[in-house]
């Protein structure tokens, strides 16, 4: 293993490869920071350019863009409640609240350092365990996905920061939105009203940019909130670092969750950050702090999406199965160069695999060095009067929504969800449960139906597959403790009103 890694560093430290790593992580940071331009768009744009260069530097650069974007993605989530890229949606829940309390610097520092720790630990995991882990990913079938995502969905009950009823209502709305489109088994249309654009369902990007970015702009314009007075507090690095240290366990938990979910071809950075947030809230002593600026709510998910970005190289390179749009494009770059990733990649192209892995160690250090000083720079953005910032947010949201499918339809979806986001804010409905249900719902449905088709209708398939059984047992335990706690509160203690 160490010879392999040393060999990898020999390749990654070649001047050309080093330059491409720097270009990759630099572009990644910018793309991450800019809302609307995600890593898939950027990689798609750069793909034709990689025809002309060698394969290893090309992949080093494209991978750099992908994991580099996970660093920067938190920036606008924290500062203006607009996710810089899809996997940073969760960061808005607590990051933006921290910024409002004058702790933007701390939140950004947590995101940068958490990303670094998660990225580095994951590369170590990649170095040591990629081969056996690719086997795990291969064995993870529909029953296991069902167990995992159902477990995630039961954690929704922890996600609502206000009243439980409102949280569950939003989760139901999220499930409903996830149903829109073509039924995966029969092919019948659900709630599409004959609109072709709805056949594939609603897209994640315009929905989240609408609910968070546009919704927040409308809300701020309506209630006239200003940031200027909270700026002074954010530059205090001593305080920022203390907050970072407090989140060390959240960072490690996030890394673990992210690394595991990233290995699964059906996982991905979005799912990992949502699950990590739910886990953080579950283990917290005082879950009520979440949604009001809990630093763990930034540390966990931001670490998770970085870990997932790194570990998603395993299914991509060793199985040839990309888990998300970005890795699908990296797969395309490999195919263009005549390399078919799969079980033989390690044997046939060790220079490629180990070169890319080693470049990720270097890339993570570069990203930390690049991102920490930027914290101060980005915080200054809040000095821009909100009326200008608002225009910029709306503009970037429109461009971002359009660019997903080059379709004006998605811009209308963005505006619709912008208005919905505004209404939810005013009525104090938390959008977190909606998002997690929207992402996980379709996976739960498809994997359940796939499992039952496989077993020809027998539910026994969930019991004879150990991993699936364990996930489902955990889900049942969580639900039961919730119910028991609720009864305890109602029957034993004096009835008291919940917050919200």
């Amino acid at each position: 293993m160490f010879e392999n890694l040393a060999y990898g560093f020999l390749i990654a430290l070649k001047p050309t490869n080093l330059i491409y790593a720097v270009i990759g992580v630099f572009l990644g940071t910018i793309v991450g920071v800019l809302p609307g331009i995600g890593p898939p768009t950027t990689i798609a744009l750069l793909l034709p350019l990689t025809y002309g260069i060698e394969l290893t530097p090309a992949i080093i650069m494209l991978a750099g863009i992908f994991y580099g974007a996970m660093y920067g993605g938190s920036t606008t989530s924290i500062l203006v409640n607009l996710p810089g890229e899809a996997a940073s949606v969760v960061t808005t829940f607590d990051g933006y609240q921290m910024a409002k309390q004058g702790r933007a610097g701390a939140a950004l520092a947590i995101a940068a350092i958490g990303s670094f720790v998660a990225g580095t630990i994951s590369v170590v995991g990649l170095t040591a365990l990629s081969q056996p882990l690719s086997e795990v990913a291969l064995r993870f079938g529909p029953p296991e996905y069902f167990g995992l995502t159902l477990l995630g969905l039961t954690l929704v009950s922890y996600l609502a920061s206000g009243s439980m009823v409102r949280g569950l209502l939003m989760a139901l709305l999220g499930l409903f939105l996830g149903l829109i489109g073509m039924d995966p088994v029969q092919g019948t249309r659900r709630f599409t009203f004959g609109i072709l654009e709805l056949n594939d369902g609603l897209d994640f990007v315009p929905i989240t940019m609408g609910l968070f970015g546009i919704g927040e702009v409308l809300y701020n314009l309506a209630v006239k909130e200003e940031f200027a007075e909270v700026l002074k507090a954010t530059i205090d690095w001593g305080r920022n670092l203390r907050e970072v240290l407090q989140t060390k366990w959240a960072i490690l938990r996030g890394t673990l969750v992210g690394f595991f979910v990233g290995i699964l071809p059906g996982g991905g950075a979005i799912v990992s950050s949502l699950l990590s947030y739910a886990v953080e809230k579950r283990v917290a002593r005082d879950p009520s702090r979440f949604g009001k600026g809990a630093p763990e709510g930034v540390a966990g998910p931001e670490s998770a999406n970085n870990a997932a970005a790194t570990s998603s190289m395993i299914p991509l390179l060793l199985l040839g199965v990309p888990g998300n749009a970005s890795t699908a494009l990296i797969l395309a770059a490999l195919l263009i160069h005549g390399v078919r990733p799969g079980p033989f990649l390690l044997q046939d192209h060790p220079d490629l695999f180990w070169g890319v892995v080693a470049s990720m160690y270097i890339g993570n250090v570069l990203l930390l060095v690049m991102n920490l000083p930027l914290v101060n720079v980005f915080v200054q953005l809040l000095r821009i009067p909100y009326r200008f910032l608002a225009v910029l947010i709306v503009l970037l949201s429109i461009v971002g929504s359009y660019s997903v499918n080059n379709s004006i339809f998605d811009v209308w979806i963005l505006l619709l969800f912008g208005i919905l986001g505004f209404l939810f804010r005013i009525l104090k409905f938390d959008v977190g449960p909606l998002i997690i249900a929207f992402v996980l719902g379709p996976i739960v449905e498809l994997s359940l139906r796939q499992s039952l088709i496989m077993s020809r209708g027998s539910l026994g398939i969930f019991l004879i597959r150990p991993a699936a059984a364990i996930f489902l047992l955990a889900a049942v335990v969580i639900l039961m403790t919730q119910v028991i706690q609720a009864f305890w509160r109602v029957l034993v203690k004096a009835p008291m009103h919940q917050r919200g």
Partner: protein
């Protein structure tokens, strides 16, 4: 008098380009891709775009409009102005199957074929420890044990689902269809034994075939295909089913004949370009060129095959 002659001559000069040859193209041509970035259509289109300026005199701009299985892009081009500046990089799914199973508002007559670039067969892929050694054995088993074979496909009416429907319609076999999210998950389902079989594409299957994690029993193309000449076709094995996923440049049918002719000539030369050939070979795909009229015949036959299969299913 002199003045009149001068005027006449200058008018003639002005009119000449219009008479002999109109100037086309004078601006970039858009090639609309009905699928997402990184897919095989996208990759082929980018290779085309890399050689196009030499032969068109203008850049070929690749624009992705994915959605509804490709129907969004086809509708867009079918409704576009037929001026030769908007072309479609069409395919079997959006141009032959979808119009026959769904109300998409376009069919064959909305498009004029410019050139077929190539097509890919689907590979009948089964798990490594499956009992069948040939496609014929597989079909025989699925016929005698209806619904026993777990067959993963990559989406209703898609390139993985449809050839199996054709086999069912032709032979009376019956499988248990499991929908998956795409080629990758379907391949993993077969390789891990969660499914018994699937129709998949070479780029992803070949590494798993080499590793002995799956076996391939046959290809759906009319004849054996580069670079997997060792795999027999279904037809050779007595199963009368052919199905390919083609990639062809189509223009809106309102495009003027002169421009269609110009485009056909340009794309014919592009396909023969050595750097184009080299890049396509690197993708692991063959070049199967057909000119516009030849492809139209091919497409019409495919359209009829699909419609027969659909009629058989509905019965």
């Amino acid at each position: 008098m002199k003045r009149w002659i001068f005027l006449f001559l200058s008018l003639l000069v002005l009119a000449l380009p219009g008479l002999s040859q109109e100037a086309y193209p004078t601006k970039p041509i858009e090639l609309i891709i009905p699928f997402a970035a990184g897919g095989s259509h996208d990759l082929h289109a980018r290779v085309l775009a890399s050689v196009a300026p030499q032969y068109l005199g203008q850049p070929l701009v690749v624009i992705l409009k994915p959605g509804a299985g490709g129907a969004i892009a086809c509708q867009y081009v079918a409704r576009a102005k037929g001026d030769g500046y908007t072309l479609l990089f069409g395919g079997t799914g959006p141009n032959t199957i979808l119009p026959q199973v769904e109300n998409v508002g376009y069919g064959m007559k909305e498009f004029t074929p410019i050139a077929l670039i190539n097509y890919s067969p689907a590979l009948l892929t089964v798990r490594a420890d499956a009992p069948w050694k040939t496609a014929a054995e597989f079909v025989e088993y699925a016929k005698n044990n209806p619904g026993k074979v777990n067959f993963a496909h990559t989406g209703i009416w898609g390139a993985s689902h449809f050839p199996m429907l054709m086999i069912e319609a032709k032979t009376g076999a019956k499988v248990n269809f499991i929908p998956t999210e795409g080629g990758g998950p379907a391949l993993l389902a077969v390789a891990s034994g969660n499914a018994d079989a699937s129709f998949l594409f070479a780029a992803q299957v070949l590494p798993f075939l080499r590793a002995g994690r799956v076996r391939v029993l046959g290809v759906t193309s009319p004849s054996r295909i580069d670079p997997i000449k060792e795999i027999p076709t279904l037809k050779e094995q007595g199963i009368d089913v052919t199905f390919v996923m083609w990639r062809a440049v189509l223009a809106p049918s309102s495009t003027p004949v002169v421009r269609v002719k110009k485009l056909r000539e340009a794309f014919k030369k592009m396909v023969a370009d050595p750097s184009f050939k080299a890049l396509i070979a690197q993708l692991g795909e063959p070049i199967i060129y057909m000119d516009g009229p030849e492809f139209l015949t091919f497409w019409r036959k495919e359209w009829e095959d699909v419609s027969k299969t659909l009629a058989a299913i509905k019965k």
